[in-house]
Symmetry: C3
Subunit: 219 residues, 3 copies
């Protein structure tokens, strides 16, 4: 039972590390920089969750396997993805969506196990799912996906809520976990599929034209 959660957690580490390494590739970092960005993305969310809950030791401090998995993922990305700029942006979005769905549900689960109230646990799950990617984007000076992509926070909150619902309905824990992850993932992938050409640059342009207007006003 707990074994499934453990493997899902490591899979979340892999996909977020991959998204961090792909993003790093766009900046032509030296290999160690790629590893660091992959690591920050992969363990950022879980670390913030554990620190806020006071759940010491933090997962990756207790179990160095996490760092090994990140290292291997980053190195494989460097080896097999020679030109990260040619990888379609959608690939990064999809890796991020898997990490989001997995960590939102697993984060909610951990918070519930530690005795958090339901609303707190769902928010905790959202933090776990969203924070690693947020740090990745902020470090790269990109507006975080949660502000650019529709149905991002929504998908994370849905994942945690579904888990709570399925547990309330007395589903088997493995089933509840997998169904909740699938729900969040389906919603987020649907959003990517039908809206990927929508918002990202529009916002930036609006802000630029806004600041141009203001600049004229103040000049």
């Amino acid at each position: 039972m707990h074994e499934l959660i453990y493997w899902l957690d490591l899979f979340g580490i892999v996909v977020f590390a991959l998204s961090g390494a792909l993003m790093a590739g766009r900046y032509q970092l030296d290999p160690f920089g790629v590893v660091v960005l992959a690591a920050v993305t992969a363990i950022g969310g879980g670390t913030i969750r554990d620190v806020i809950l006071g759940a010491y030791p933090v997962a990756w401090v207790a179990n160095p396997l996490y760092l090994t998995v990140i290292l291997v993922t980053a190195v494989l990305t460097i080896i097999f993805v020679r030109q990260p700029k040619r990888i379609p942006k959608r690939f990064l979005l999809i890796a991020d969506a898997f990490g989001l769905a997995l960590f939102a549900v697993l984060g909610t689960q951990k918070a519930l196990t530690l005795g958090s109230p339901i609303s707190v646990a769902i928010v905790m799950g959202a933090i776990t799912g969203v924070a690693g990617g947020m740090i990745r984007d902020v470090l790269c000076n990109v507006i975080p996906m949660i502000l650019r992509q529709e149905i991002y926070a929504t998908a994370a909150l849905l994942g945690g809520s579904l888990l709570v619902l399925f547990q309330y309905l007395d589903f088997n824990e493995n089933t509840a976990t997998l169904l909740a992850i699938s729900g969040a993932l389906a919603l987020r992938l649907a959003a990517i599929y039908w809206q990927v050409s929508l918002p990202a640059f529009e916002i930036v342009e609006k802000e630029q034209s806004l600041s141009k207007k203001k600049r004229n006003k103040y000049k």
Copy 2:
């Protein structure tokens, strides 16, 4: 006595959640995204304070009322503020000023209660007052107010210092708290009132022209 502090704390949550929701409105987020940005702004500072002090459980984890208040504030903002871009920017600044003054003083108070030295407690208060808004601005890829607005950190540090002073002068605790908050708020509002048209864009322009110069130099 402690009741006053509790209500002031919740009021700080409301005004910071409001400032986060208003900022979110400028980015046309879906409703859940608005709630998330409101939450990060409202509980960011207190969370960082509690985590650094090791004061577990963190306030909003122990008491789900915080999340409810944020949710209600964000939803009301969405309902009543149909076009956040038309809300004068000053409104966001004023909500932020209230949150800054309240949390700077209450954060200092909590750190003192937990036995921190005076200088540490004042810095802890400043972190509580400043960090939530900082995270809000960084996520929106805006230079944080602390770097754009004059007399921002100054107001936060004044709030904590006044509290220490009034406690040293043996004022009644409620009086000391309210006076310290008023002092910090008055200073910050005065800065907004007389300087609001000043610095923000100047910095950005300078940096742009700076990087243009450098770019030419390197070309």
Copy 3:
């Protein structure tokens, strides 16, 4: 023995506070804003390390001398550096390099003392060395050095690894510490010396031209 580490730690605080104050000078902050940016840069990395390790109380909360040192450094910087924009950028880079090397090694050491596995301790050291400057850069809306400067994360990871190696070879602890710091510092300074004119603006330009391309595509 421990005395050396204590002084090296305070020296790291000074150089990072200096780098924060110099960066603040470019934004013409009021004096308190300069102090805050200096403080965030100087204690950011160590705070994150202690919080993730659950090593309470956090160093600067236990010992207010840290804040005093930061305050004095920031005030002296304000007094003696009248025009921070005329200070060559290399000066900020060098101060940052000293802080990076010192904190990467001392952070690894603290994590080892607290019983972390070797790989975790080295990563912990890198976080200590890198995070303060990262926060400084993110707050100033600048892409962090770790993403702009080559051999940045590499130098931090080298420092921690050298410490582990020298301890394994049974070097005297003071010798191991100083040699590891020198190794990391030498690597980073070499990178600054031979590559300082290289990457920073290239990335920004690439991104701009990239987004121009994309904008055209979506228009």
